[in-house]
């Protein structure tokens, strides 16, 4: 069975940040030095080859790009300066757009105009919501809120309405992401193998998904531990904050200022610390460009960092203004905070860089499924777990 070459794929991939895709001459140093490449799942060289040849289907069914955590050893060893690490990064961007059935992911990755227009439109919707819809529903954004009795945050932004909107957004985002994960499953496990995976293996290996999401053990094996740690702080801070806002908003957003050790505040402080630490680490790294990992920044990388920084810093401002009783400043920063947060979540989680929070642990899970796949009738494939060396 031969696979058709798509010679135009390279032009498409250029927009995903692939760089000089032709520099690689396949010495294989990158695969040899990679701490994560293993039998049956060899990368980066093999993936670079598929990309050079334009074997779309083979690429779409590759789990390997998600198994790479970009330590940069390959790029530093490459005698051709082909930047295999960045090529793998570009493949992750490309694969995100391949899994996405709406086509929006590709638009956001390859067109600044699309991405910025979407952000501005969403931000405008948020502003209009606060200035027009909420007052229309009887929640007046008037002088009263600012003059008497401190910050009336719950009168300005009623938690029940906000929580409802949170849930609507969460359902949309999760629906998109889950449908894309199903497509990923179809391409990687279902469609392109001569093998099948039993339901029992699906159940037995499921713990890996949870474990890899929470601990990211593969990342810790990749290069210096400081990357893993800062990423883990960022990830845990983000997850905690996400749960607090979406699930526990009425508990989290109170007008009464609780003591600092109260879980409502201390959890928020931890999440903020984690986010800030991770963000500063990445920002400094990408600006200094000293580590290979941070040397190349695609438009989508910067956009994500900038939006997250703005979200976190406006969130901190909301908190500071509220604790200090500065009502008007609190409301303005609140609107700003939401106007950044909404487009960020809508773009990043299902369509762009942040979708890796799902694709990476799922990839480890799918890799495991591939290992325990058994040949279908008539196929002579040896199962991966039976292969030696």
């Amino acid at each position: 069975m031969s696979t058709r070459v798509n010679p135009d794929l390279r032009n498409e991939l250029l927009k995903f940040g692939i760089g000089d895709w032709n520099a690689c001459y396949h010495c294989g140093n990158c695969t040899a030095i990679c701490p994560l490449s293993e039998t049956g799942f060899l990368f980066p060289r093999k993936k670079i080859r598929l990309m050079q040849m334009g074997l779309e289907d083979k690429l779409a069914s590759s789990v390997e790009p998600w198994l790479c955590y970009y330590c940069g050893d390959c790029s530093e060893t490459c005698p051709r300066e082909a930047n295999p690490g960045e090529l793998m990064m570009s493949l992750r961007r490309y694969l995100t757009s391949v899994y996405d059935w709406t086509g929006l992911s590709k638009k956001f990755y390859t067109s600044e105009v699309w991405e910025l227009s979407f952000i501005l439109a969403m931000a405008a919707m948020v502003v209009v919501f606060f200035l027009k819809f909420l007052p229309a529903m009887g929640y007046t954004f008037t002088r009263e809120l600012t003059t008497e009795g401190g910050v009336k945050i719950n009168s300005f932004a009623p938690p029940d309405i906000m929580e409802m909107l949170d849930w609507i957004m969460a359902v949309i985002v999760a629906g998109l992401l889950i449908s894309n994960i199903l497509r990923m499953y179809y391409k990687i496990v279902w469609k392109y193998t001569n093998t099948k995976v039993s339901l029992w293996v699906h159940i037995r290996e499921f713990w890996r998904l949870i474990f890899n999401f929470a601990v990211q053990p593969k990342f810790s094996k990749c290069g210096s531990r400081q990357y893993w740690l800062s990423h883990w702080l960022l990830m845990s801070g983000y997850t905690i904050m996400f749960i607090l806002i979406v699930v526990y908003l009425p508990w989290f957003q109170t007008e009464k200022v609780l003591p600092w050790w109260h879980p409502q505040r201390s959890l928020g402080y931890y999440a903020t610390f984690g986010l800030l630490f991770g963000l500063i680490f990445v920002l400094v790294g990408r600006l200094r460009r000293k580590s290979v990992k941070f040397r190349f920044s695609h438009m989508s990388d910067w956009l994500f960092i900038v939006m997250l920084t703005l979200t976190v810093s406006s969130g901190i401002l909301v908190h500071l203004f509220r604790v200090n009783g500065m009502a008007m400043a609190t409301y303005v920063s609140y609107i700003f905070h939401i106007a950044i947060l909404v487009p960020m979540i809508l773009i990043e989680v299902p369509f762009s860089k942040w979708s890796h929070l799902a694709y990476r642990p799922f990839a480890v899970y799918f890799q495991q499924l591939q290992k325990y796949a058994v040949p279908r009738k008539g196929s002579k494939t040896t199962p991966l777990w039976k292969r030696s060396g």
Partner: protein, 579 residues
């Protein structure tokens, strides 16, 4: 018969010999042999004092044979022959024993090396006993030169010789000069025009008063030997012309491999599968279109067509990889959006600035696909109507291990350089040998790559092996320099140690004629015996060893000389055993 008086000189070669061979013990042992008047050692026999020692001894001890035991005769045989000649002895009354390369350098046991040295020297001593004086001979050189082939090699050599004021006869098989280079559009690695390169050379050759070009002419037979060749040319519309010349330069070039014998590529069946030369023409005329008249969107270039494959030719054609990259550059500038596939086996960037050219070209957005040119060639088939391309190439891509299909509109086959179809006729006429790949064999692959084993016949350009334009021109000028050297000297020395046939013993079986690699033996129909042309004979000894009647003797390698040499070495080894 005069008394034989042999002088033996054993060289220390600094410590090269003396470290492993006890030279004094060897001299003492050799000094006891019959007819040996003296046996001496010296630190460097090849130095002036060393040579003077021999000359002085010849005079004072009335020596009439000399043996020097030192390094390889390849290095200093001529030195010592000259020295003994200076002292008034015929240089062929000298023999050399190699106790360095054949002894001290290759052994680790001093006593064994010493006995081996004694054996080798004793062999030379018993051999030199039977040496007889030989006369050095030389023949005059005709200053005209015959050049076969009017391509860039032949014309360059012709101009070099004619510019030095000597007559050149240039024989061209076709009706125009220029050869293969005139069919190219651009050349690598600088992408300069081939036409601008070759046109002035053609003009100059045609107008040179000392170059006479014979078009549509081929040489059937050349007679004579170095310095004195003759041939009769059949010139169309003019008739017969007899030419005399002293040297021959063969520059008959090559022909492109015919890919229709490779079934996988479908050349001849698919009009959009073209050879590299056809593509040169397409790009030269600016019509880079498929047979349907459309601009090709995807173009594949298949390397090693007929090269490096056991079924066709095993050798590498050397230039095609770079020509393929040249095509890539040309396609890229003619069709900026076309997809170019280089389907290659190994990328070979030979020559100055070739690697840089390759590195530069890889940035031209080419898709390199590697195939196994030994066991699985790509297969070209016609595309179906839904495919949106003319042809589909299916292949196993080595770097990925994937079986792939490549959609293309045009395929360029980088055909191998193969020997010309009439090369056998040419080598038969001029007396040159062919290797297994039908390329002409040079005298020495490294040290004498333009001369042949036939004196006065030189080979240049691609008839000697696949090569690029710079190497071809270099060879042409080198051969011209060699020819001009013999013309300037006026005479050329011919081999002294030739074979001669005792016509009383010769039975006329002509076996010697069959085995002679230099076509130096002919059959005398009147006397019914074979005769050696001593100007052509190189003294290789093949005929002497073959002759069933024992009628052929090789000078300086007579049966007596060789047998006594064997006796000498055996006598010493048996003596060792008895001790």
């Amino acid at each position: 018969m005069e008394e034989i008086r042999i002088g033996v000189y054993i060289c220390w070669c600094g410590t090269n010999i003396s470290k492993m061979v006890d030279v004094e013990a060897a001299a003492a042992e050799i000094g006891r042999l019959p007819d040996v008047v003296l046996a001496k050692t010296y630190k460097y026999m090849c130095s002036d004092p060393g040579q003077d020692l021999i000359i002085k001894d010849i005079h004072s001890h009335h020596l009439n044979r000399v043996v020097v035991a030192a390094c390889s005769p390849r290095i200093h045989e001529m030195t010592f022959r000259k020295a003994v000649e200076k002292a008034g002895i015929n240089p062929y009354l000298f023999e050399m024993a190699n106790i360095r390369e054949q002894d001290s350098w290759v052994h680790t046991d001093r006593s064994e090396a010493t006995s081996k040295a004694i054996g080798l020297i004793a062999a030379a001593v018993s051999r030199v006993h039977y040496h007889s004086p030989l006369e050095k001979r030389s023949v005059p050189v005709n200053p005209a030169t015959l050049i076969l082939g009017g391509g860039i090699a032949g014309m360059t050599a012709a101009l070099e010789i004619a510019d030095a004021g000597k007559q050149v006869y240039l024989v061209e098989r076709t009706n125009r000069l220029g050869g293969l280079v005139s069919k190219f559009d651009l050349t690598y690695p600088d992408l300069s025009s081939a036409r601008q390169l070759i046109r002035p050379i053609i003009q100059k050759t045609m107008n040179h008063p000392l170059i006479r070009v014979f078009y549509r002419t081929e040489v059937e037979e050349v007679k004579g030997y170095i310095g004195n060749f003759t041939t009769i040319l059949q010139i169309p519309e003019e008739g017969e012309t007899e030419l005399s010349f002293g040297n021959i330069i063969v520059a008959v070039g090559l022909r492109p491999f015919d890919p229709s014998v490779i079934p996988e590529y479908g050349y001849g069946r698919f009009p959009d599968v073209v050879t590299s030369l056809q593509f040169e023409e397409m790009i030269g005329t600016g019509r880079l279109l498929t047979k349907r008249g459309q601009e090709p969107r995807n173009i594949a270039i298949i390397h090693c067509v007929g090269s490096r494959n056991r079924k066709y030719h095993e050798y590498c054609s050397r230039t095609c990889c770079m020509v393929a990259l040249k095509f890539t550059n040309q396609i890229r500038s003619a069709l900026p959006d076309a997809n170019i596939f280089e389907i290659y086996a190994d990328m070979r960037a030979i020559g100055k600035r070739a690697e840089e050219f390759y590195a530069r070209t890889t940035h031209q957005q080419i898709i390199f696909l590697m195939f196994d040119q030994q066991d699985s060639l790509p297969v070209i088939k016609e595309a179906s109507k839904n495919d949106n391309c003319n042809l589909i190439i299916t292949m196993n891509e080595l770097l990925s291990g994937e079986n792939i299909e490549v959609p293309v509109d045009m395929v360029i086959l980088m055909v191998n350089m193969e020997a010309h179809e009439n090369v056998k006729k040419v080598v038969h006429a001029v007396g040159v040998s062919l290797c297994g790949n039908q390329f002409m064999i040079e005298k020495h692959p490294k040290l004498d790559p333009v001369a042949t084993t036939t004196g006065g016949v030189y080979i240049v350009g691609t008839c000697q092996g696949p090569k690029d334009i710079p190497d071809t021109v270099t060879q042409a000028r080198a051969a011209a320099a060699r020819v001009l050297g013999t013309i300037a000297t006026g005479t050329v020395p011919v081999e002294v140690t030739t074979a001669f046939i005792n016509d009383k013993l010769c039975c006329g079986c002509q076996t010697c004629i069959l085995v002679c690699p230099y076509s130096a033996i002919s059959f005398n129909q009147e006397k019914k015996v074979s005769e050696v042309n001593e100007a052509l004979c190189k003294g290789c000894g093949t005929c002497g060893a073959t002759c069933p009647a024992g009628a052929i003797t090789s000078r300086n390698f007579t049966d007596e000389q060789i047998l006594s040499q064997v006796e000498g070495i055996l006598a010493m080894s048996f003596k060792d055993q008895s001790v």
